[in-house]
């Protein structure tokens, strides 16, 4: 859960990129790292705990500060999980203390089953941590839209976004940085909106009373 440090006017938030193996989670972080506008010192190193063949073993980690939130230092920690099925224990470890989730689905027809199973795995792993996906802001990203065998977006929506409450979803070509920032900005908006709302129930003072969106 996010931490607020009143003394230093800091808010720290953890966002986890989840999804099937080779779906583009690490690519999202690489693109954010390479293309984000930041003031000096506001972007940390991208750390990858990967195998010798560049597959995520434990997690990727990117600490970053948002430029548009003035007055309050808001530090985001972006993590990926390993997508390979065998690394389920490490996926659970990375989910600890998560504030928001970006689910990166692979748009290719033949990867659809993997994406659906990965989404189910996310729900199971959250349950194991006594968390409920309905309580955590999340967005969907349909990646690899540039491939010829990409399934229609409506079909992916039917498979992955057919819960009682539909969440924002984005098409993306992560390796070209298309859709990457749109996804990150939306999960950030949803998170801060949630904090302000939770805060108003618990005595948080805020300057602007209207919702974030």
């Amino acid at each position: 859960m996010a931490i607020i440090n009143q003394a230093t006017k800091e808010l720290q938030v953890k966002i986890v990129y989840y999804g099937p193996a080779l779906g583009g989670k690490t690519t999202n972080l690489v693109q954010v790292h390479d293309h984000v506008q930041t003031q000096e010192g506001h972007k940390g190193k991208l750390v990858s705990l990967a195998t010798s063949s560049d597959r995520t073993l434990f997690f990727d980690f990117l600490p970053i500060e948002a430029v548009a939130i003035r007055g309050f230092k808001t530090k985001f920690q972006l993590y990926t999980v390993p997508g390979q099925v065998i690394y389920n224990t490490t996926r659970q470890l990375v989910l600890r203390g998560v504030d928001g989730i970006v689910f990166v689905a692979d748009s290719q027809y033949e990867k659809m089953e993997e994406s659906v199973k990965s989404f189910q795995n996310l729900e199971e792993n959250l349950k194991a941590l006594d968390l409920d996906l309905n309580d955590i802001p999340y967005v969907l990203q349909y990646n690899k839209r540039d491939l010829p065998n990409a399934a229609p977006v409506d079909y992916m929506e039917f498979l992955l976004n057919n819960h009682d409450v539909q969440v924002p979803s984005f098409t993306a070509v992560a390796h070209k940085c298309q859709g990457v920032f749109e996804t990150l900005n939306m999960i950030t908006r949803m998170l801060l909106h949630k904090f302000i709302n939770e805060g108003s129930r618990t005595g948080v003072k805020q300057r602007q009373q209207q919702p974030v969106h």
Binding site: M1, A2, I3, I4, N5, Q6, A7, T8, L11, Q12, K14, V32, H35, V36, Q37, G44, K45, V47, L49, F58, F61, P63, I64, A66, V67, A68, I69, R70, G71, F72, T74, K75, Q77, Y79, T89, T90, L93, V94, R96, G97, V98, C177, F181, L184, N185, T188, R189, L192, I196, E198, G199, T202, G203, V204, K205, Q206, R207, Q208, V212, H213
Partner: protein
């Protein structure tokens, strides 16, 4: 449930306890981190050390150790120790949500570091408990400016 929040008094006391620990153990730095990987506060010399990343990795390392503990049915893996040639470090459990990380010169006895860390941990835990129990207090987000909320993160302009 209110968001965990620390006020100046908490940070002052935690810094004081960490400062005491650093002095007694001759450590180069000590940090309190959240088990989710957040750096809460630190003391000591941190020149050249990326403490944000160190906090994330230490939390990950400790979590992996807990995973190993549960596999071998052990409930008391509450400290991780890494010995190096120049520097060593320990990651010690504080309470349910936080960890203490101490980085110290390799020639310093780990036994001494653990002894003083063990003595300091309950006092750190007490202060964190006081912060958590202050849940009813007002949390001031007045400084948060939500303008440009659609573009928290901006992409650098493409170069032709």
């Amino acid at each position: 449930m209110p968001l965990p929040q620390l006020i100046a008094e908490d940070v002052r006391e935690l810094d004081r306890l960490l400062g005491e620990l650093v002095t007694r153990t001759e450590a180069s730095s000590a940090m309190i981190i959240d088990k989710a990987g957040f750096l809460i506060t630190q003391s000591g010399t941190d020149a050249g050390v990326d403490s944000t990343t160190l906090a994330a990795l230490a939390a990950g390392s400790f979590a992996a150790t807990q995973g190993m503990a549960s596999i071998v049915s052990e409930s008391n893996f509450n400290c991780v120790y890494q010995q190096g040639e120049s520097f060593s470090l320990i990651v010690q459990n504080i309470e349910n949500d936080t960890l203490l990380v101490v980085v110290f010169a390799a020639h310093v006895s780990v036994g001494a570091v653990k002894y003083f860390a063990n003595a300091g941990v309950p006092r750190i835990a007490d202060q964190l408990l006081r912060a958590r129990e202050r849940g009813d207090g007002e949390l001031d987000l007045a400084m948060m400016n939500m303008e440009n909320s659609s573009e928290f993160f901006r992409k650098v302009a493409e170069q032709d």
